[in-house]
């Protein structure tokens, strides 16, 4: 079974590589034979050369580092704020009801329009991009924390209380853990969205960063430069995705794997389990963490008796 699985995976990988080279080949051919205008579409060979040049001369590194630094800062700050507020509102239904419309307005606002004001406030340096990234990450983490706290299985709470948990112990052993599950499984989305926000911010006004490179190239109609910027960004995002995937797997090692390709590895303990009681996240769901908190404000047995 294991061998068949590896065979299948490698066959898919070969097909994937074939598909990629076919697409690039067609693009190259069309540009070279002027079927499409290379001025607008550039050529893969030139893009590769440009990226190579950037890397070889070291030109791209400082821009890349700036973008990464902005992403990490906005992710950290946004996550902390979102987790704290999400947990607070998750355990205080009245405060949640009070702040509900404001949070919904904040979340409904397209974040791009905040970019000019952040530019005014924080200048062209990294902090205006960090601020933009924070507004994006904050809401994702906030909604996930909130849901993690509100939608914890009432049975787990009852069980912990029967075993003697005080309010604080309940928060620590059950509510925080449940919220962390949701936060961890939204890592992909929140980091991905942080990169998007940061690059958009750079594009709209910056002195450094990948978004700035693309904007510069656009200014002189250098499509090769634009595509080169995109290529670099794509590779970085892929790399970060792989790292986050590993981190997530480590943090959520108590959850069964749900990989569309891999059959679930049989646990050493044989036998089928009835599946986890935990909601499995769909990675294609809306980036802003689903519903407004409003729809989840309902009485839950968490709150009775204390």
């Amino acid at each position: 079974m294991m061998r068949g699985h590896i065979l299948r995976k490698s066959r898919i990988l070969i097909l994937q590589l074939f598909l990629a080279s076919a697409m690039v080949g067609i693009w190259e051919y069309c540009s070279a034979s002027k079927i499409v205008d290379p001025f607008f579409f550039s050529r893969p060979s030139e893009i590769v050369l440009r990226v190579g040049h950037w890397v070889a001369t070291g030109f791209v590194w400082s821009h890349l580092l700036t973008t990464l630094l902005e992403t990490i800062l906005s992710f950290l700050i946004g996550s902390c704020l979102g987790a704290v507020l999400g947990f607070a509102l998750g355990t205080l239904p009245n405060a949640a009801a009070l702040l509900d419309p404001y949070i919904r307005v904040g979340n409904a606002l397209p974040r791009v329009v905040l970019s000019p004001i952040f530019l005014l406030w924080f200048g062209l340096g990294i902090w205006s991009k960090v601020a933009l990234g924070v507004t994006v990450v904050f809401f994702i983490v906030f909604f996930n924390t909130y849901r993690g706290v509100r939608e914890v299985d009432p049975l787990l709470i009852d069980n912990a209380r029967m075993l003697g948990a005080s309010g604080r112990q309940l928060a620590r052993h059950v509510l925080v853990r449940s919220a962390l599950t949701w936060i961890f499984s939204s890592l992909h989305i929140s980091i991905g969205m942080a990169i998007v926000a940061v690059v958009v911010g750079e594009y709209l006004g910056a002195s450094k960063g990948i978004g700035y490179l693309v904007a510069q190239a656009e200014g002189v109609f250098d499509t090769t430069g634009m595509f080169a910027g995109m290529t670099v960004l794509a590779f970085v995002v892929l790399l970060i995705g792989a790292i986050v995937g590993r981190v997530e797997r480590r943090l959520l090692h108590w959850k069964p794997l749900h990989d569309s390709l891999a059959p679930r590895p049989l646990p050493p303990g044989k036998n089928k389990s009835h599946g986890p009681p935990i909601v499995v996240e769909n990675s294609f769901r809306s980036p802003n963490g689903d519903q407004p908190p409003h729809s989840q404000v309902r009485t839950n047995s968490i709150y009775r008796n204390y």
């Binding site: 069980n159 075993l163 112990q169 052993h173 050493p268 009835h274 986890p276």
Partner: protein, 265 residues
Amino acid sequence: MMSMCDLPAVTARNVSRAFGSFVAIENISFEVAARRFVSIVGPSGCGKSTQLNIIAGLTSPSEGQIEVFGEPLVGINRRASYIFQRDALLPWKTVLANIQFGLCLRGYNQRNSLEKAHAWVRRIGLDGFGNHYPYQLSGGMRKRVAIAQCWIVEPDLVLMDEPFSALDVHTRLRMEEEIMNLSSSCNATIVFVTHDLEEAIALSDEVFLLSVSPCTRLVGRYAIDLPKPRNLIDIKSNLEFQNLYQKIWRDLRKEVLKDDARTHS
């Protein structure tokens, strides 16, 4: 003077519970003597679980009062452990950590409680599974962990809400045997909710029969005087067992038929 042990483990005095206009339980009074194994049976949806939750302190009665070993129950019942119908293990804790959980909440030191947890892992036959997570276990194994989780805190009262209804027949029989052994080897009082009359008679010292809902009442109490220890398979062919079964089933049937009549009219 009455000693502590002579006090009934649970006394219900005119307990009623309404959810809005729906009266789930109406005016139920009973006593469960200490160290007894009592089963509560009744037609499905008749409020068995509500009754158990009231004893656990998870649901408060609308009227009436529960006394636990002579003291009125306020809030959570600290003398009781609860084994739920569904899985209630913390999915992010290993088997050992789950078993240890109750001790850890009570502030036991880590070494002491880990030692106890290891002993329980052996006792429930899960050697080598201590560091597994609940999703890696079968339903029966998870149930055993839940049993250990509840029993490790040495409760005076164990409440069980159809704990084995989701298990297959064989696993279920093994679990019932384990519960029998556990209950005879300790001094805990057990209140066991089930819809399975055979299970109730085979395990219990006494069976309580609840009427159909709404306004569920206690319609019968049957002493089960079969000798202990019991063999759960052989006992079903015992004549006395069958007589008891016939007798209780006649009463239970009436309630079930009433329920049918109501839903079909």
